[in-house]
């Protein structure tokens, strides 16, 4: 039975990662055919970095991801603070409303945002409203729930007396936030920001409906590429993207692990105090 479990785990992992492995191997293949490994080469990467179309698009994606994750983090943290200070009933309702966009099919979110922008564009008599601004707004919108969801648990875990202690010692509510509360919820804010960044960086479905021809992101353009026969340099690009996101995710997990360790230590210290004393 134990062996079966191990085998099963390996099979699942293979299923999950084989496509990525094929792609990564393909990116180092000197031949054009994905099925035949001719010889090892970095040519595809060289070609990629010489490409004058793809690289600016990558930059576009990074810009949107950075800006949208920054805005979403600020807004989301504020929202989480607000939701946290609500009464339990209202809070549950608000969290429910916040979570719905997460499960909502992306294509529905995309289409509805596009319709909204078209509506606003008509109202304000702007032709071609779709562009950088609409893309950014859309990305902030779908990033918000991720930030709220990762900040909320930190707020819940925090001893509510901490904020009161700060107020008690002379902090204005704003001082209490930036001198005390923010230190407690920073891990949540950081992991929310990282999550938002990765979600935004690789978003295709929603972006596809709200981008304008003046500002295209990488995933949208890559979709156009797939209509033609794929070039090996695209494999190289995908491999790099995968690696980048993998690094961010590992970083996030390490952060969470460190944070969990710290709170375990604090808890142990508190218990030790109860049992043994000074």
């Amino acid at each position: 039975m134990k062996n079966f479990n191990k085998v099963f785990t390996v099979i699942v992992l293979l299923f999950l990662y084989i496509p990525m492995i094929v792609l990564a191997v393909g990116s180092f293949n000197s031949g054009m055919d994905i099925a035949v490994f001719k010889s090892f080469t970095f040519d595809n990467y060289k070609e990629l970095f010489r490409d004058s179309v793809l690289l600016p698009l990558l930059l576009n994606s990074v810009i949107v991801a950075l800006l949208s994750s920054i805005f979403a983090t600020i807004l989301g943290t504020c929202a989480a603070l607000g939701i946290h200070s609500m009464g339990p009933r209202l809070r549950r309702f608000t969290m429910g409303v916040t979570n719905i966009p997460l499960t909502n099919p992306e294509i529905v979110t995309g289409v509805s945002l596009a319709l909204l922008f078209a509506f606003v564009g008509t109202m304000m008599k702007i032709n071609n409203i779709l562009g950088f601004a609409t893309l950014l707004i859309a990305h902030i919108t779908f990033n918000l729930p991720y930030v709220i969801l990762s900040v909320m648990p930190k707020l819940k875990q925090m001893d509510p007396n901490l904020r009161e202690a700060a107020l008690d010692l002379g902090c204005t509510p704003w001082q209490a936030f930036y001198k005390v509360v923010i230190h407690e919820i920073t891990p949540g804010i950081v992991s929310g920001a990282l999550m938002a960044f990765t979600m935004s960086l690789d978003d295709f479905v929603i972006s596809y409906f709200v981008y304008g021809p003046r500002f295209v992101t990488l995933p949208v353009e890559i979709y156009n590429y797939t209509k033609k026969p794929l070039q090996p340099k695209i494999y190289a690009l995908f491999t790099l993207l995968f690696a980048a996101i993998l690094i961010v995710m590992v970083l996030m997990n390490l952060l969470q692990e460190r944070d969990a360790k710290r709170s375990r230590e604090n808890r142990r210290a508190f218990r030790r105090g109860k049992k043994v004393g000074a």
């Binding site: 339990p88 009161e164 008690d168 010692l169 230190h183 407690e184 030790r272 109860k274 004393g277």
Partner: protein
Amino acid sequence: MSKELIRLVNCQMAFDDEIVLDDINLYFNDKEFLTLLGPSGCGKTTTLRIIGGFIKPTGGDVLFDGVRINDVPPHKRKVNTVFQKYALFPHLDVYENVAFGLRLAKLPEEEIDERVTEMLEIVSLKGFENRKVSQLSGGQQQRVAIARALVNRPKVLLLDEPLGALDLRLRKDMQNELKRIQQAMGITFIYVTHDQEEALSMSDTVVVMDKGRIQQIGTPEDIYNEPKNAFVADFIGESNILDGIMLEDRLVKFFGRKFKCVDFGFEKNEPVDVVIRPEDIDIVAPDDGHLCGTVTSVTFKGVHYDTIVDFKGFKWLIQTTDFYEVGSYIGIRLEPEDIHIMHKSEYSGMFGDYSSYSAEYDEMDDPDLYPEDAEESEEASEGGKDEE
């Protein structure tokens, strides 16, 4: 007594529809050690939080030095709080935790250093300046919390069950320590606890609360010797509480017998509650006794035996240093000053019968049981904490 500092006038507090404080009238004198004592959910923490400014009463006024401070936020009040779970700032070391309030007040660096050092000395934490808070034991964290509050030289220090998380031995030490600090600093302490022993041994004044109402205010001796109703008599120490009839001044009838007592001022033939403290009862030979009964259970308690005696179906608790075997037939004598008479109240008949006595009655004070009590749900309903 010295001058009045804080006064609560008709204070009411309701969370949603639940009334937590019902018409509280209370004043606090300067330099007084006052304890709010009561079971979980009696409203004592709520009262403290109103004084601290963390919640606004839904009715009534809070006066500080005669000025209404209902709408004054916590950071502008001349009170500081020691929280139940200490609430030290984990990202700061011991020194910076204590210096927190002084830095906010923008005092010069030398004065901050002087006062922090002095305060750490007072709480015997010299040499711990650079420790992280998580590296301290519970008792040490407790003292940092006290130092952090006192260094601001508040007029009033609010303490919310500050010793609740400490073990028994340490708790006793800290009780003496707190009393010493209070006398040395000469400021008002308002102390919240559910531990009656703590309340009696530390306080100048004890306020007994239950169901959001004040049951009795008095010195520890008053509260113990002259409880106003069955709740107070039962909550403070152990009590046998019996139904009686006050025949006339200084004469009460219970168990079909007339007893002389020292109480007066009741109506003729008024039904009353009679309190007899278990340690006041003298056991004698059956022939010399006012009442006779059979011992049904004996528990060794160290200083004394808890002896349960059945008198005509009503069981009494008697604390005696002499051992009487289960089944032995004994008599008791009651002197007039052993008997305390109370008016009937809503609590009559709820306490003071040891028929369901078990030796577990004092396990509520178990230091390992952290009081995750109804007070917490009070906080939850105004948005402090979720249901997890």
